[in-house]
Symmetry: D2
Subunit: 278 residues, 4 copies
Amino acid sequence: MEQRVRVLIDCNDEKGLVYKISKVFYDRDLNIENNREFVDKEKGKFFMRTVVTGDFDSQELNQELQKAVPNNAQIKVITPRVKKIVILATKESHALGDILIRHEAGELDAQIEAVIANHDILEPLVRRFDIPFFHVSAEGMSREEHEEQMISLIDEQLFDYIVLAKYMRILTPKFVANYPQQIVNIHHSFLPAFIGANPYKQAHQRGVKIIGATAHFVTDDLDEGPIIAQDVIPVNHRLDWKDMQRAGRDVEKIVLSRALNLVLNDRVFVHGNKTIIF
Amino acid sequence: MEQRVRVLIDCNDEKGLVYKISKVFYDRDLNIENNREFVDKEKGKFFMRTVVTGDFDSQELNQELQKAVPNNAQIKVITPRVKKIVILATKESHALGDILIRHEAGELDAQIEAVIANHDILEPLVRRFDIPFFHVSAEGMSREEHEEQMISLIDEQLFDYIVLAKYMRILTPKFVANYPQQIVNIHHSFLPAFIGANPYKQAHQRGVKIIGATAHFVTDDLDEGPIIAQDVIPVNHRLDWKDMQRAGRDVEKIVLSRALNLVLNDRVFVHGNKTIIF
Amino acid sequence: MEQRVRVLIDCNDEKGLVYKISKVFYDRDLNIENNREFVDKEKGKFFMRTVVTGDFDSQELNQELQKAVPNNAQIKVITPRVKKIVILATKESHALGDILIRHEAGELDAQIEAVIANHDILEPLVRRFDIPFFHVSAEGMSREEHEEQMISLIDEQLFDYIVLAKYMRILTPKFVANYPQQIVNIHHSFLPAFIGANPYKQAHQRGVKIIGATAHFVTDDLDEGPIIAQDVIPVNHRLDWKDMQRAGRDVEKIVLSRALNLVLNDRVFVHGNKTIIF
Amino acid sequence: MEQRVRVLIDCNDEKGLVYKISKVFYDRDLNIENNREFVDKEKGKFFMRTVVTGDFDSQELNQELQKAVPNNAQIKVITPRVKKIVILATKESHALGDILIRHEAGELDAQIEAVIANHDILEPLVRRFDIPFFHVSAEGMSREEHEEQMISLIDEQLFDYIVLAKYMRILTPKFVANYPQQIVNIHHSFLPAFIGANPYKQAHQRGVKIIGATAHFVTDDLDEGPIIAQDVIPVNHRLDWKDMQRAGRDVEKIVLSRALNLVLNDRVFVHGNKTIIF
């Protein structure tokens, strides 16, 4: 079948890998449209993302590649498709809105399956776009009870990724463990500065001259997951913390959408607590 | 005497301050060339930097301004002059070199009185510029002994500011207390991220996508003094920590020189643990 | 009446202006909340934006200020209010969408009165927000005929500013003359580079390493009006011109919204072909 | 001979290139330390920069690679070495000084053979570093006469690249033709904005909010050669054109040194009027 796929390879490094991998493509008369590699010499790891076109069977290609590379290799042969996402939010609309507008314009390589929020403020906005909105109030519940409701609702959806678009609740390790490398969060600071609550207040108090935002995969450790994208803007003494928050929102939403786009296009390898981005 | 001065006022805020201050200038027929104010409403503080020209006596102007504003006001009437600096360094030449080149070009509003280092590697470079170089080795000494030697050497110099141009030793509170708001440091990270030793290794380990540098006044708390200037550059997974260090040097030297220039031009007010910069 | 106003003064520079102006405030017992001035020495012009609070009559305050400053002064005493805007668009939704989301969140200090477009593609998006959408097709019309229809439709609206959110038609001098300093445009390049059609193609062809966007007031000269805000992002050889366009959209929308916000908050003085921004 | 080389390949694109090239490495048991490729689909061109290590003969490797790729291929097998540069300057010391300091610190992968200037102002600075300085005054000479003297002096040096570190004279096509892809210039604007004389005056007059600098190879067309690196900084209405010039110098020197470093490390392919940078 004539097709275009993304081949992702993550394995131990050894001599001859590029040759062996490209030989598999060459022997099948495939065309390499785009190719990027990275070797982490310190850790002895090899990463490759190749876009190939041609007439082939994906499963067979995967098997041939497995034979060509070291045993422990993780190989994915991905046929590009519109992925599905579930968005979690709270009250702020900037990050969510940025995704909704891209979605509406067909510029997001994803289908938004649902927006789930712990407040109902964003319901009218989401409804405007005819996207299912679910309100799971946390009032009068323990963190665990609330999360159970969230999880059961999330698990009813079909999705590839969960996007935390300013979802302002801390996730338990149990929640996170359910969705490894599937949760993308935007943190409203230039991590690792100002971990935790109200980073803008912290930034204002510290008198920094630059503020930023960080998009990352969520892992057990709060705000400690692999960073996907970061950006910053200059600030000065004239801004109080609410001004900083306002200014920071533009960075937050752009960084989240940029990271999401990288993830949706299979451009992000997770490597320990870091990312390799092609 | 016909002159141009910088008037710096730092006092409690109250109604009518701009009027009362500008009246002092007006009554003496002075011309305001440049004027910037800032009110910190939360703390109830007023800051003003005005450049005035005219025929007046500075001391008398200061006294008249004192009468016009609240009791606790700190007022400075500064006749611009080439200030004197002492530079402390260790082994790296980029920040020091940047200052030396500006000094040589007459672009630094300061006279370098001496460079003092705990290693002798930079001696040839400094000697090229006919600037006194002193080597105070720390070998076989306690921190206190070494600092005593440094202090006694520093105190032999005439200087307005001490510039830490990648001086890689931690200063004791006693040292810092000797020179309040007189020590400008460049920290090789985007503070408050990566406080402490080897920030580039920390940054690499954390997998950040941006690194930075921070120029700040030195206070008791290590890396916690008022921030004067910060800047950043993007990095990616291809850089190991030494690459990051190399890339970071350009930011470090530019940020330090920018901060130094602000300080030398009396553009920096210290306000608690922050700065107001005009 | 107890109120807060923005006082904007634009006049020839002369000695004593700050004193004379602040005396007017002082004599009325007004409080200066915020004050910024700028003197263009080369042109001999003085600009001031002051936020004052107190019990006073705006018209009388304006008259008193007129007496205090040179004859030709332009003085505005503005009571902050939600301004009205009309948005012109074509097919792209990113800049429009960014404004719509801010509008919906109550973060835009403006009421969107209408969106007018020369294509109907954006109608569904605008209708989602219950905002009037008008389609004025240019098909089969001369530029003049189309503009006449646009003007007559625009003039039926109440508005303070016209926002060109990627409106891809060139405006005639006649159109522009109708709305002096009222039209804010986003140009998809870092002006003055790549004036005219398809800047991204031009940028790609030139092989630049950075692309940008420019928000400016529209004047007779195409892409030559006073610049309000600019920003940039790095690009590289991997991006074709459509990738650049995609990447550029994020800059375009943020720069337009930032500029719009400055204009709506009366922070922008037009000074010849430049802006003073407080 | 055990060695590490940089292999640069620039050829027409065709299927199987990565395989055929990596096969040459594999058959010789070479190790790929680093590999980057780029295909310009529009132009049908393939670019590759690979760092390989192993026991091999460079000339033979080159010949084998020539057999593996299309006929017109440009292949270079480069043994990293300290390259030689000649610097041309005029009066300003910031860009020159930045290179001198890096040179002194051993951080520049180049040996400065000589500095040649059309004024003698920089002689003392250069002499401090024990580097040959030549003054070729242009006074009373035609452009052609002056260039002839420059060329004959340049041609007496051994060098790989000529660096224009703020050399403020326009070069004739004849001069440029002598040194194809060998002349690196820093232009004091964000090209293609403000081509030609005094870009800072032009930028000030236009009222831009960002200024920049551009390092590029010099070709016949003034300021139109392939861009290697660019960077920018924000400015505002408070800066007159001399302030912009002062602020711009930091960008100029950093951008020039960054570009020079890329060139010295064989990371820059010239591709028509653009660059591919690995």
